[in-house]
Symmetry: C2
Subunit: 238 residues, 2 copies
């Protein structure tokens, strides 16, 4: 995927892609592009030996991942001290119908990032994160909003995780059958899956004369969500 | 969502929706419908205190969840003895741009299911699971395929998890602002997100005269993936 040289994340037994080595990537360019093309991640953490898998909006800044939630939430209370976590992003690209049960598969692009999640407690760092939480998705949006109140800041917890290790795993090859099975009179196909943006639904209570800002131009009906998210990330951080 | 009475999953501190209680559901009808509308789940498990979050195809049968992978994979080796796991499915429905940073949000429907994952070792149970792994998505497909070889069966591990606890969390309300903020001259919208099926891509090596089977009728270009998956599940298990 990446054209330019790119630093690799450390590879060790935690993040090494063990099966299908050909599908594994560790370079930052590949890993970051897949992260920046997504808004939704699943975060795993452990409480008293019980694993939890929580969906959350997230974003990347350099080699750090941020997500947030209510200060009252269970996940955030338990991650605040630097607990090990794993944040995973998956782009689900197709379902593959092969000529044998065994070769049924899926095309996908996924990243697993490992590190220690901690609560952002520094006031300046938190204010900046609360701005980027909006502006990463919607460039320059915070500048046009009222200031966040002290109570709102208090009610929002921000978590940061420095990526210590990460890997991308990519399958992008559609139908692959055993050579002898191609002779069978069996139908086989790749069924593509796309996550797209629908028509924006303006709030019915918008004040007269207030138009959709041009800074939302990345988000157009019918466009792939991942393209819009990657573009918006580039506009804000590029 | 469900119209008929439905059994509830046990609610305890593990699966109780702690924040935004109004968004929590525990009835099997709601939980199962959200599971059966998905092919992709994220599974969390713990190895030596390190949480892992792995994307996988999965399916539900009664109150059991199944997923699979290579017998060589790390996750499966470690789940084989009945390890605690959490399987999460998320339908990401919209991004919400509000009039304040704090009220930016997303609409979503998610299920977290908890239990102990174990390897399916009984030969008959495993054969049946390998059939349903295909037929759950593509009704009656296995009957038209060559038999799975002993080597293929050996190379595939099937994991089953009886759902001990589960909860659904649903936000479906678009833009909600603080009452005084509606007077602000700020644009706000709900940006819908849809995961849809693209045009099927037949394998170029299909034998002459082999047509797309009518049993794949649920999977039509442009249709919501979740609708097709729910319909296929109903055809196979209904």
């Amino acid at each position: 995927m990446p054209q330019q040289p790119s630093v690799n994340y450390l590879v060790d037994p935690i993040n090494k892609v063990k099966r299908r080595h050909d599908r594994g990537f560790y370079d930052q360019a590949t890993v970051h592009q897949l992260l920046d093309s997504a808004a939704l991640a699943h975060v795993s953490y452990v409480i008293d030996g019980q694993p939890f898998c929580t969906p959350t909006l997230f974003w990347r800044e350099e080699t750090r991942l941020y997500w947030h939630g209510s200060s009252a939430s269970r996940m955030l209370r338990n991650l605040s001290k630097g607990e090990p976590a794993c944040l995973t992003v998956t782009h689900f690209d197709s379902i593959v119908l092969a000529r044998s049960g065994f070769n049924h598969s899926a095309d996908y692009r996924a990243v697993m990032a490992f590190g220690k999640a901690r609560l952002v407690t520094d006031a300046l760092e938190k204010d900046r994160a609360l701005t980027m939480m909006v502006d990463r998705f919607f460039p320059e949006r915070t500048a046009g909003l009222r200031a966040t109140t002290r109570q709102e800041t208090k009610a929002t917890a921000v978590i940061v995780m420095e990526i210590e290790k990460a890997s991308a795993k990519i399958r992008a090859k559609g139908v692959i059958d055993d050579e002898e099975d191609y002779a069978l009179p069996v139908y086989a196909e790749r069924l593509p899956i796309r996550t797209v943006i629908g028509g924006p639904e303006p709030c019915p209570r918008i004040r007269p004369g207030v138009e959709r800002p041009t800074t939302l131009g990345s988000y157009r009906e019918g466009r792939l969500l991942e393209e819009a998210l990657l573009e918006a990330h580039g506009l804000t951080y590029g």
